[in-house]
Amino acid sequence: MKKKDHYGYLFILPFFIVFGIFSIYPILLTFYYSFTNYSGMGVPEVIGLANYTRLLTDSYFLQAFFNTWYIWGVNFFFQMLIALGLAILFSDIRMKMKGLGFFRAVLYLPNLITIASVALLFGILLGWHHGTLNHLLMDLGIISQPINWLNDPTTAKWSVALIGAWMWFGHTFIVLMAGISGISKDYYEAALIDGANRWKTLFHITLPLLKPIMLYIMITSLIGGLQIFELPMLLTDGMGAPQGSLNTMVLYMYNQAFKFNNYGYAAAVAYGLFLITLIFSFATFKAMYRKSMD
């Protein structure tokens, strides 16, 4: 019998040491803090499940939960719509799109700009009396009085969602393109010979075979979307104005920890967020996976 060698473990040990110190330890420490009233200074005092019972009845957290889903939902719908449309258009074998590399780069660009710059840019575009968009719409005669985009709960949420969609559709588009190019050309050629039109190929070949890719995009987007933070933080007052409509779960956690110094409660919010992400990722995966198996 061949002697088993354990040296391999030594080689992977550095990763696990670093991972343990910088990831596992903070995760466990946060879990401990979630049972305390730690204020960031001094010694934490264990207060049992008080933070979690508070979380369950906290109307601001509930609002943050719905805001996050609302923003992610709108964002994902438009991001997918644009990306899918473009991906189908660009990969159509009958069209033979020219300059694909150029378009891919251009469409991906918004994703490369830092969110702080994006927030500043849209802050100026969406301003009330001084914003470019309002002046433009006014000049075109579309509106007769200025719309305070970032001060109305609905338009504020839609603004954040659509900015997010604008930032991410390029990324989604590239992933979808990769997925489509993975589908064998034979199917399309066979369909072409059989006289199937574009809609038929789309609904009977492209979309069903893209399902695993779309599932992947959906779950990664969901995990990212549930953590939306920077845009709502930077676009208005950082507290979720107007009327708390931009208060997302991570923003709420951030404010509880770093603005109000309720580290213990913020740790509980973090674990609540983790649980929610876990449940919904799992549910999404289950639902989509079962359907594609049928």
């Binding site: 040296y7 030594l10 080689f11 040990l13 550095p14 040491i17 670093v18 110190i21 910088f22 960031g40 200074m41 906290d58 601001y60 802050g123 100026i124 301003g127 009330w128 009396h129 001084h130 309002n134 002046h135 006014m138 000049d139 007769s144 009085q145 200025p146 305070n148 001060n151 007052d237 950082g238 507290m239 104005a241 107007p242 009327q243 404010n255 509880q256 770093f258 603005k259 109000f260 309720n262």
Partner: protein, 436 residues
């Protein structure tokens, strides 16, 4: 043998990985490290470097992230600066912590300086036991900075005393606002500018000694003043710190493209008459954002005195360079020669009275058309009550401001806004007692 070698390699790899994470800052350590939230210390540090032949490393962190970045290094002591500044918004919190060296002890004995400083500035650097943790070179009373040319055209004079007289009550302020409006100007950039004058009517801390939230009548009046400013259309809709807010200091801003709701007759541009700003607003806000209007400004009083902001300076308790750090703190706050130069160059209003006494007589600020703003601000500083500062101010002011905003917008009635304000405070600080 082979085994030992492998263990050695692994150990080296592990340590180099860990070292990469922690070692980057200590490799080129300066003689003194300073952390602050503005670049105002850059010039003094240059002077200090030259005088002492040392290297000083200044790290500037934006004020929003400043407490968040500073707290971990102070708690752990890893990579902590030798000297760090505190802002009014968190000074109350920080003097109670064990981060700053106690300056009332040997060899500092800062309490001996006390009589030479503006009282409130010195008091805010003390903890509840009277230990002095931080000192400041400046005092930050506020006033109303206004445009002389507009004043002359509309009000017939640009004399700060006369204009101050007219704006010494809220009614007077609104009257001036109406006159400006009919001439095509706007009194303030936004409604927030009156918050100081509302709160200052009966100044009290947000949270009293019984840990109860205090909503004074003056604060409630802020709702009405803000609403009146909006309804009478006396502002330019340029929110504080927005690009339009800064732009209006130097030029007419696009404001109304003929929107019915506003006023169809008025032109699409307007100029802003005045900004409510404290001392530091002159050199770090107005001067840095103007070219055209330099020399066209003056400062005067509003309906009541107020103060806003301020930078305190202290030595980190665990610092290894306390001697040099102390030297720097001394230069910043107690060096007559340096402070005289500093004040005359920047116009920063000092809290160190021997110097202010010396320079206030013939002080002239070219930016303010040669006005002696020094005497004005020192008089305002004498009326400041430091007892109103609490460690909650920044957040609670934020909550209150956004609720006033919702009332002005019409999304909430005054009662609803106040109720929501109580809920917000309660949510952020469960220990504070709010009225039921």
């Amino acid at each position: 043998m082979k085994k030992k070698l492998l263990i050695l390699i692994t150990a080296v790899m592990t340590f180099s990985l860990l070292a990469a994470c922690s070692n980057s800052s200590s490799s080129k350590k300066a003689d003194l490290t300073v952390w602050s939230f503005t670049d105002e210390l850059q010039e003094p540090i240059n002077v200090f470097k030259e005088e002492n032949g040392v290297t000083v490393d200044l790290t500037i962190i934006p004020i929003e992230d400043y407490p968040t970045r500073l707290r971990p290094v102070l708690e752990s002591g890893q990579g902590a600066p030798d000297v760090f500044t505190g802002e009014l918004a968190f000074i109350k919190d920080w003097v109670e912590q064990d981060y700053w060296e106690d300056l009332s002890q040997e060899p500092y004995n800062v309490q001996e300086w006390e009589d030479d400083y503006v009282p409130y500035v010195f008091d805010l650097g003390k903890d509840s036991e009277g230990k002095i943790k931080a000192v400041s070179w400046q005092t930050t009373p506020g006033g109303i900075f206004y445009r002389r040319s507009i004043a002359k055209e509309v009000l017939g004079t640009d004399d700060p005393a006369e204009i101050g007289e007219r704006m010494s009550s809220m009614d007077g302020l609104f009257e001036v606002g109406e006159e400006l409006k009919s001439a095509g100007y706007r009194l303030f950039p936004d409604e927030g500018a009156v918050r100081w004058f509302a709160q200052g009517q009966d100044p009290q801390p947000w949270v009293n000694e019984n840990n109860e939230l205090v909503l004074t009548e003056g604060r409630i009046n802020y709702f009405d003043y803000a609403k009146e400013l909006r309804d009478k259309d006396l502002t330019a809709f340029a929110p504080e710190w927005s690009p339009a807010w800064f732009a209006a200091m130097d030029e007419p801003i696009n404001y109304n493209a003929g929107w019915e709701e506003v006023d169809e007759e008025s032109s699409d541009q307007t100029e802003v008459f005045a900004y409510a700003l404290p001392t530091w607003g002159l050199h770090s806000v107005l001067k840095t954002n103007t070219e055209e209007t330099v020399g066209d400004w003056a400062v005067t009083n509003g309906p009541n005195p107020y103060f806003w902001g301020g930078t305190w300076l202290g030595i980190y308790k665990g610092s290894e360079n306390k001697d040099l750090a102390w030297k720097f703190v001394q230069m910043m706050t107690h060096d007559e020669e340096f402070l005289t130069d500093w004040a005359t160059e920047t116009g920063d209003v000092l809290s160190y009275l021997p110097v202010t006494e010396k320079i206030k007589g013939e002080f002239e600020e070219p930016f303010l058309g040669g006005q002696n703003n020094y005497t004005f601000f020192l008089e305002e500083a004498a009326n400041i009550n430091p007892g109103t500062v609490t460690r909650y101010d920044q957040q609670i002011d934020g909550f209150f401001g956004s609720m006033v905003g919702e009332y002005v917008e019409g999304t909430k009635t005054k009662e609803e806004a106040i109720e929501e304000f109580y809920r917000l405070v309660k949510n952020a600080y469960p220990d504070i007692k709010t009225p039921e």
